[in-house]
Amino acid sequence: MTGTGVGPELIRLTGVDAGYDHQVVLHDVNVHVHEDQFTGIVGPSGSGKTTLLRLLLGIVKPMSGSIDQRPNLRTAYVPQLETVNWDFPITVVECVLMSGSSAQGRRFSTPWASAREKSAAMLVLERLGIAQFADRQIRQLSGGQQQRMFLARALYRQPQLLLLDEPTSGVDVSTRHDVLHLLADLHEDGVAIVLTTHDLNGMAAHLPHLICVNHRVIADGTPQDVIRPEVLEQTYGARMEVLEHLGMRVVVDDHREQPSRVEA
């Protein structure tokens, strides 16, 4: 899988400081996102992972430095499942459709979706394997299906760049596996993907490119470059052992006095 970012540039962050209420959370960030990128942002809680994602989304403005974005870049965002009210009275297909008219830049639209819009939404739901739930109220889906619905809403916008906040948080192992494969397929189709994750072994180790963050960018590269005891110690402030298994890096807690290190 490619995805380390060598294609044309979509977003460039240069010397960015960012935070909230005058408190700097991220310092001197230099990050480029390219057309063929598939990147995971990892780091401990409160390290600025989500802030970096929100900088890329334009929700957080930089305190200093600059952000350059390709004009008319179509971005879609998949938030964490916990951020919305699942008791909201809408169906799965209504949720997917709601992002449509704004994506097309129309000022006004009719309340009802056209047959063409409905058919496009159903195609996306079919691709994600949840077309049979189209008319269900959103609370009636499992966690994995809710995550797929959010993905469907994002894909309905036909994005060039897809940003996801902890897409495997709160889902079971099987769903995590499915989400990872789905994202890999989307990446193959030409969608650039950037996501945050806590899950080093289940998610991050499978991605082609990682950014380690702890209030600044600690490291940036392939899992082979980044998943190393010294980088993880800098990122998480704790010693971890890294094992090799079938060419994959596996991170385990290191409770011994001296950390065991992978040979570079």
Binding site: C95, M98, S99, S102, D172
Partner: protein, 292 residues
């Protein structure tokens, strides 16, 4: 049947019935967005705030008190929106400060200078007496404005109500939509104050929407049900008010509350009660597989 037809012989009652039905429809319709945004308290706050403007403006320009109170209400709504977004105060605290201060000002001005418009009691609890044709036209215009606004901005309103952050990223101007909704809400409260009353308007924003939420899982049907419950409460409340000789606002709200109790008891499954925000509930804890 005679009990229904007899009051219709009085023109003041006919006007009252028309205004009560329209008021119920308008507040029920707009109330869906207010309830689903978790802003039920704002209707309560805004009506009190408008009362302050109502009392203050008539001191200086009695003939324009409706316009002045409207502008006062819109300014309050935008101030609440702004204070709650730009500071660490939540919306509830911002509403508590801005609108209660405005209400206190209104009470003080009423007590000191009296009123050249509606009486203090009528302003608080609503009255069907003395409804002018201008007020009916004003209410009809605001109702049309509200329907037009929702029709033309339906998807943006729905998206920003359901998931404001993703709506913002997806190109919806969430701040602008919220400001427009606040303006429509202020005008709706102002236009219905005469019949419902300052202290009871908030109930008519909330009750029909909550009842509608218990009856359906569809947003479109919730809008229709909430409007219907608002109309029914307005019309039946007016009759009860006429025969019981009590302020119209109180009876309209009590009819709405009775509908709520019936639906809650018979139609509201535990899931829908939860959906309407009537049960305290804890979000499921994610079964995350975090590897450190």
């Amino acid at each position: 049947m005679e009990a229904i037809l007899e009051p219709l012989g009085y023109s003041f009652f006919l006007k009252g019935l028309l205004v009560a039905g329209l008021s119920g429809a308008l507040l029920g319709f707009i109330g869906v967005f207010i309830v689903l945004r978790g802003m039920s308290y704002i209707g309560h706050g805004l009506s009190h705030s408008i009362f302050g403007g109502f009392a203050a403006v008539q001191l200086f320009a009695a003939q324009f008190y409706i316009l002045g109170a409207g502008l006062w209400g819109i300014a309050s709504a935008l101030a609440i929106n702004s204070v709650s977004k730009r500071s660490r105060l939540g919306a509830d605290a911002a509403i508590g400060v801005i609108t209660t201060a405005s209400f206190a000002l209104g009470v003080a001005l009423f007590a000191r200078f009296g009123s050249s418009g509606p009486s203090f009691e009528n302003a608080l609890f609503g009255s069907i007496l003395g409804i002018s044709t201008e007020q009916i036209v004003g209410l009809a215009v605001v109702s049309l404005l509200a329907v037009g606004f929702v029709f033309l901005r339906y998807r943006a309103l729905l998206f920003s109500t359901f998931d404001p952050e993703v709506a913002d990223v997806s190109g919806v101007r969430v701040g602008r939509i919220e400001a427009q909704l606040m303006i429509v809400l202020s005008l709706s409260i102002l236009a219905t104050l005469t019949v419902i009353g300052v202290t009871l308007v908030a109930a008519m924003l909330v009750i029909p929407a909550v009842v509608a939420r218990m009856l359906t899982d569809s947003f479109g049907r919730m809008l229709a049900w909430s409007t219907a419950v608002g109309i029914f409460s307005g019309l039946v409340g007016m009759y009860v008010s006429y025969y019981a000789e009590v302020p119209s606002g109180t009876m309209i709200v009590l009819v709405g509350a009775a509908i709520f109790l019936i639906v809650f008891a018979f139609a509201g499954s535990s899931r829908r009660r939860k959906s309407a925000g009537l049960d305290s509930h804890v979000e499921p804890v994610p079964a995350a597989t975090v590897v450190r």
